[in-house]
């Protein structure tokens, strides 16, 4: 579950001397929202994001329509890109959740994956979301059960024991601290079996409470 397994390798890239108009056309044509800017040998120089495309009107000399078009047409990527020193990059070997953490803290949508200054890929929100849905096997049908249990050692073992006894496999499993009650812990499990059997088996565990059951 490392960044290098989930990042987009060989992403489309831009060069500093390219014209912004050209880059904008490509981004719209290929519905790409982030373009790392690289020099020779894929060395990272900057990043183009949707925000960097919004050009601050104050920079315009005048609002006369001809001046604007002329200025826009010879605007170069290096004028609008986020310079390398303010671009947050990530190493391919970091765990994926750390990448998510960095993105959330810095409120950025894309992290160029860099090794010794060379761009080896790009990881964006969509990649993480894609990873999340795979973690929860979002694309597979089955019974999805949410169980709340106290924060005591052995509780999870009990849950897994019951499922194992019933002979079912666990397609996906996720868990997090309960938002409302710090002492409680919620687990989400996906099992390929009928809804009734699952509810019957799991409600037998006294200390745990089924919050939500649904056929997915």
């Amino acid at each position: 579950m490392l960044v290098k397994d989930y990042m987009t390798k060989h992403p489309p890239m831009a060069e500093p001397k390219m014209s912004v108009v050209e880059v904008q056309r490509q981004m719209s044509e290929n519905n790409v929202r982030y373009l790392p800017v690289v020099g020779d040998g894929k060395r990272l120089l900057g990043l183009i994001t949707p925000q960097s495309m919004l050009i601050d009107p104050r920079r315009m000399a005048s609002l006369n329509v001809w001046d604007i078009t002329r200025l826009l047409s010879d605007l170069k990527v290096k004028d609008i890109m986020i310079k390398i020193r303010s671009v947050i990059t990530i190493d391919p070997d970091t765990p994926i959740e750390q990448a998510a953490q960095v993105m959330v803290e810095n409120r950025v949508g894309c992290l160029p994956v860099v090794q010794e200054g060379i761009v080896v890929g790009v990881i964006t929100e969509t990649d993480l979301l894609d990873h999340l849905s795979k973690m929860m096997s979002g694309n597979m049908s089955g019974v999805r059960v949410t169980i709340r249990m106290p924060m005591i050692k052995g509780e999870l073992a009990k849950l897994v024991g019951v499922i194992a006894q019933a002979g079912w496999g666990i397609d996906a499993m996720g868990g997090a601290l309960c938002v409302k009650d710090a002492k409680k812990w919620d687990a989400v499990v996906k099992i390929r079996a009928s809804k009734e059997e699952v509810v019957a088996a799991l409600s037998a565990i006294s200390s745990q409470e089924i919050i939500d059951v649904r056929e997915v």
């Binding site: 987009t8 390798k9 489309p12 790409v32």
Partner: protein, 701 residues
């Protein structure tokens, strides 16, 4: 394996390339479009001269002095390459787009060590220091399973084997982690077991580096094994494009169908099917037919086909074809095309009348090699052929198969008398022919003729076709003087070459035609035995089928016995009654063709069969790969010569120590089927078949 629908690494739209020649511009490639996504392999297949290499070189705009891109767009990661300046292209090459070609030996600088040549890519593109670059190269060499990378990097290209050279070239291409890797027939020059290993390597490198690969080959089997999507090219145009399974299951362009029909397959024999060649010749780029380019050779052609050029159209999601009647083609793809109906060959083996026509007993051919010491030093010998015994039955075909360096060509040359026999004896029609050809009697020479491999050098370029066929007639006086010309014309017609070929010079003929003239020359004197030294391996697939059928016809009509040498197991399977598998100068296994392709196998035969690429992605095939490389025949391994690479030695007690000590005994599966192996026959019988033999399958009969 393919990510969600995002930017394809490479997008080609209506690419057109032309060469400026003295007679004006010649359009070598017209209207080629396809896409390649990340970690996906796009296979381009087509016969020689169809422009597939031009497409490859067009990507990196390396079209020589007179070639240039005349139309279409090449989008690499979203940006069009056609308008890029030479400097920008240079920065892309070797960093984001890498290339690997057919002959690795030529692609490496003979006067520079391998290490320098590899590190250069990093030094130039990554401006790495030499030591760091060398270290990176060593890691990459380990990644491509190169034994002892440090010493290999200090060596020169001519000091390593073909397979290793290709690994170095592939490693060099992947050093900068390119987004696109273009491979132009990378494994064509390699032996089938080495090729299989390299193809595996390409697959798992792709998984790790997510590189998009454009794989170009004329061999449908290789393409089926390696690519996800396939484009079939013919005479400069892409005629069909679809997912790999689609194209084999539902070929919907007559040319693709023709290609599939004329390839001999491992799981079919000459009894159960016929090879249907494509008639006619590939049109030259300067004289293209008006309508559909395949119309002149298409069995399903209709008047509408020749009116105007046919556009590519999507007959099914993801399946494109350049044919007006593609849907109809699908229905009757199984019935025979008309001109093939009358020749159902499936010849039943004749009853064995009398003993073998050719008997080889413990034949040995050694080449003396100057010893290294200054004076004296015992003479060293290359044991090219070492203790080989076999027979050829009259009217039947004995196949000899094996990889390069196994001594099959030397054996044939010894039989025909071009090489001196160092030991054992050879009998032909009861008479001893251990002497070189210059000392043999006229009668013996007349009855033993040979067909050679390379069509370009088999005919003397300075003499007309008629003269060269007439020469054996005059030499052996098989026909009175005045009838020589008529006899030559009869032979030409037999070879399906018209009378007007009589006066032509070899340079005006295509490869297939040259080979037919060579066959006519060989059978002119009505020999009893014809030795064929890989007669079809240098030909295109469609032409190959025609020549193979021709040889079968000759055998059927004239009853000539044939010894057929080849390295392609599916061709040999189709063509031969008996088969001998050779390894490093010795016979590993010999017997009727059916027995060879079914267990019990000699471990080497098993490895060979599992390496042969089958032109059908759905066929299941055992996966056995041989490690190491072929040892030198100068000092071959002791005992069984295959023990250094044999994957089956574990089946023997104490790890097959016996294999190193003693020569393998001949174990008789049936009276005609012998296997030279220490592994007891019962164990060998327990192995399951390498290839599941489909009885019905898409082929007729």
């Amino acid at each position: 394996m393919r990510g969600p629908r995002e930017v394809p690494i490479l997008q080609i739209e209506q690419l057109a390339v032309a060469y400026a020649t003295r007679h004006g511009d010649v359009a070598a490639v017209r209207d080629v479009s396809f896409e390649i996504h990340r970690a996906q392999t796009f296979g381009i297949v087509g016969e020689s001269g169809c422009g597939k290499s031009t497409v490859a070189f067009g990507m990196v705009n390396f079209l020589g002095r007179n070639g240039r891109i005349t139309g279409g767009r090449i989008l690499f990661q979203g940006q069009d390459l056609v308008k890029r300046s030479e400097l920008e292209l240079r920065k892309l090459r070797g960093d984001r787009i890498a290339m690997v070609y057919q002959d690795p030996m030529q692609a490496l600088n003979p006067a520079m060590t391998l290490g320098d040549q590899m590190a250069e890519v990093l030094i130039v593109h990554r401006s790495m220091k030499r030591s760091a670059a060398m270290e990176r190269c060593k890691q990459m060499l380990e990644r491509v399973y190169m034994p002892d990378p440090a010493s290999v990097m200090r060596r020169y290209p001519h000091q390593i084997s073909g397979g290793q050279q290709q690994r170095i070239v592939i490693a060099m291409a992947l050093l900068n982690d390119p987004a696109l890797l273009i491979m132009d027939e990378p494994t064509t020059a390699l032996d089938v077991t080495v090729e299989a290993a390299v193809l595996d390597l390409i697959n798992d490198l792709q998984n790790e580096f997510d590189t998009a690969i454009m794989y170009i080959s004329h061999n449908l089997g290789v393409i089926a094994r390696v690519s996800d999507e396939i484009g079939v090219m013919y005479a400069g145009e892409m005629v069909e494009r679809a997912d790999v399974k689609d194209i084999f299951a539902r070929p919907s362009h007559p040319y693709t169908l023709g290609l599939l029909r004329c390839i001999p397959r491992l799981d079919t024999t000459k009894r159960s099917t016929t090879l249907q060649p494509i008639r006619g010749r590939v049109p030259s780029p300067t004289a293209l037919p008006p309508g559909c380019i395949f119309e002149p050779r298409c069995p399903f052609a209709r008047p509408a086909c020749s009116h105007q050029p046919i556009p590519m159209r999507e007959i099914q999601p993801g399946h494109w074809a350049r044919c007006l009647y593609a849907e109809e083609i699908l229905e009757h793809k199984d019935d025979l095309s008309d001109d093939m109906v009358n020749i159902i060959i499936g010849v039943a083996p004749k009853t064995d009348n009398g003993g073998p026509i050719l008997r080889v007993k413990e034949a040995k051919t050694y080449y003396p090699v100057a010893s290294k010491q200054i004076i004296g030093g015992q003479k060293q010998y290359v044991k090219a052929v070492d203790n080989v015994s076999m027979e050829a039955m009259p009217g039947r075909t004995l196949g000899i198969v094996g990889e390069s360096g196994c001594g099959k060509s030397t054996l044939v040359k010894t039989i025909i008398g071009l090489e001196k026999l160092s030991g054992g004896e050879i009998e032909f029609m009861g008479m001893d022919i251990s002497t070189p050809v210059s000392k043999r009697s006229e009668a013996l020479i007349k009855d033993l003729q040979m067909v050679f491999q390379n069509p370009d050098s088999t005919l003397n370029p300075s003499f007309s076709v008629g003269y060269q066929i007439a020469r054996p007639l005059r030499r052996f006086k098989t026909v009175p003087r005045n009838q020589v010309r008529d006899e030559v014309i009869r032979l030409l017609n037999m070879m399906r070459l018209g009378e007007n070929y009589y006066g032509r010079l070899p340079r005006q003929l295509s490869g297939g035609e040259k080979q037919r003239v060579a066959i006519a020359r060989a059978i002119a004197a009505q020999p009893k035995l014809v030795l064929c030294d890989e007669p079809v391996s240098a030909l295109d697939v469609s032409v190959q089928a025609a020549v193979l059928n021709l040889l079968l016809e000759i055998q059927q009509q004239l009853g000539t016995t044939m010894v057929f040498i080849a390295h392609d197991l599916s061709v040999v399977r189709f063509f031969c009654d008996h088969l001998a598998v050779m390894y490093l100068g010795q016979i590993a296994e010999i017997g009727p063709a059916e027995a060879i392709y079914l267990p019990p196998y000699h471990p080497y035969t098993e490895a060979l069969l599992s390496a042969v690429p089958i032109p059908d992605p759905s066929a299941e095939q055992k996966h056995i790969r041989l490690g190491g490389s072929v040892p030198s025949a100068l000092n071959p391994p002791t005992g069984c010569r295959f023990h250094t690479r044999c994957p089956r030695r574990a089946m023997l007690p104490d790890g097959g120590a016996i294999c190193e000590r003693e020569d393998p005994p001949a174990q008789f599966d049936t009276d005609q089927h012998r296997i030279y192996c220490h592994i007891p026959l019962e164990e060998l019988r327990k192995m399951e078949a390498v290839v599941t033999i489909e009885k019905e399958g898409p082929h007729v009969g």
